[in-house]
Amino acid sequence: MPWDFADGLPIWRQIAVRIKSDVAGGRLVPGEKIASVRDLAVQAGVNPNTMQRALAQLEQEGILRTERTSGRYVTEDAAVLEVLRGQLASGIIADLYCKLRAIGMDDDQIVAAVAAWKDEG
């Protein structure tokens, strides 16, 4: 099954976010070797150059590292993972915040509603 992509956003960015979520959520484990560009491109149903660009971006951010001969691995650097989790969290929170504001809630109500939801959870 090809991956789902939203319309009108560069696909390489969407791939990068997806892999980041997999790393942050532990679906890709620190030190794990990831599949080749070609295999990942086939899995995702995207052009190999697009996949390459996403992986290059993740490398630049330190989330993946390349070993010259043996392939790409998920970083084991705990600090990088912490930053990554923070980054993803603020994106999700920003999205939630905007949606809650859009239905007319103020800041206090939002914080209270999130806390109440967690207690019910």
């Binding site: 009108g8 052009n47 150059n49 697009t50």
Partner: protein, 231 residues
């Protein structure tokens, strides 16, 4: 050097300009969508590149050469209609392709036939239209060509086969070859394209990287196409 180049390429049919002096340069290592509504010149361009018709003026070049026997050895072409002798079976066609094309990879063809569960003993005329299209596509994609010119490769096949064909194009990707896909089923192929070329009434109205286009416009190639070609 560009793999496929058009220099003020024009083709007229009587009063009608199917291609009206286009300039286009396509590089190896890319999967390119040749997109346009019916009658925009897509098939004319592909036929010119294969030397099936001659330009009225201008040039089309494959690795710097006008279409000829030498370029045909490097270009794998899938026409938009049935083009093989229909009395032949798939097995006979494998031999036929092997005789004709030095770059034909029989193992690859057999692998794809097996993946799609196709039996090689059936004659083309006994196959359904969709199955015939699959066989033709497999033969075309089983060449180790420099350029693959695919004219409407997915129009007649079911969605599962479409996914398989797209996976084949992806896994077949080589930095040394060009894949040009003409289609109007853009949503289905948009994620495999490097670049898109929009043809409108014989003119190139857009030639851009698909990712840049999404970034610049905030739209999918498919919705942009619907805007540019709104009726």
């Amino acid at each position: 050097m560009a793999l496929l180049e058009c220099k003020t390429l024009a083709k007229r049919y009587g009063e009608v300009a199917a291609l009206d002096g286009i300039d286009l340069s396509l590089e190896a290592g890319k999967v390119i969508g040749l997109l346009g509504p019916n009658g925009s010149g897509k098939t004319t361009l592909i036929k010119l590149a294969n030397g099936l018709i001659k330009p009225t003026s201008g040039q089309v070049l494959i690795e710097g050469m006008a279409p000829c026997v030498k370029t045909k050895a490097k270009v794998a072409y899938l026409p938009d209609r049935d083009f093989l002798p229909e009395y032949m079976s798939t097995a006979q066609l494998l031999d036929y392709y092997e005789d004709f094309f030095a770059d034909f990879d029989r193992e690859r063809a057999l692998g794809m036939l097996a993946d799609l569960g196709l039996d090689a003993s059936g004659r083309l005329k006994e196959l359904s239209r969709g199955t015939r299209e699959k066989v033709q596509l497999i033969l075309t994609m089983s060449r180790r060509a420099h350029a693959y010119l695919l004219d409407e490769p997915i129009a007649g096949v079911d969605p599962a086969a479409r996914d398989y064909i797209l996976r084949t194009i992806i896994s077949n990707y080589s930095p040394d070859s060009l894949v040009l896909i003409s289609t109007h089923l853009i949503a289905d192929i948009e994620s495999v394209l490097d670049d898109v070329v929009f043809l409108k009434q014989g003119h190139v109205v857009l030639h851009e990287s698909a990712e840049d286009l999404r970034e610049r416009t905030g739209k999918s190639v498919d919705s942009l196409f619907r805007e540019v070609f709104a009726c």
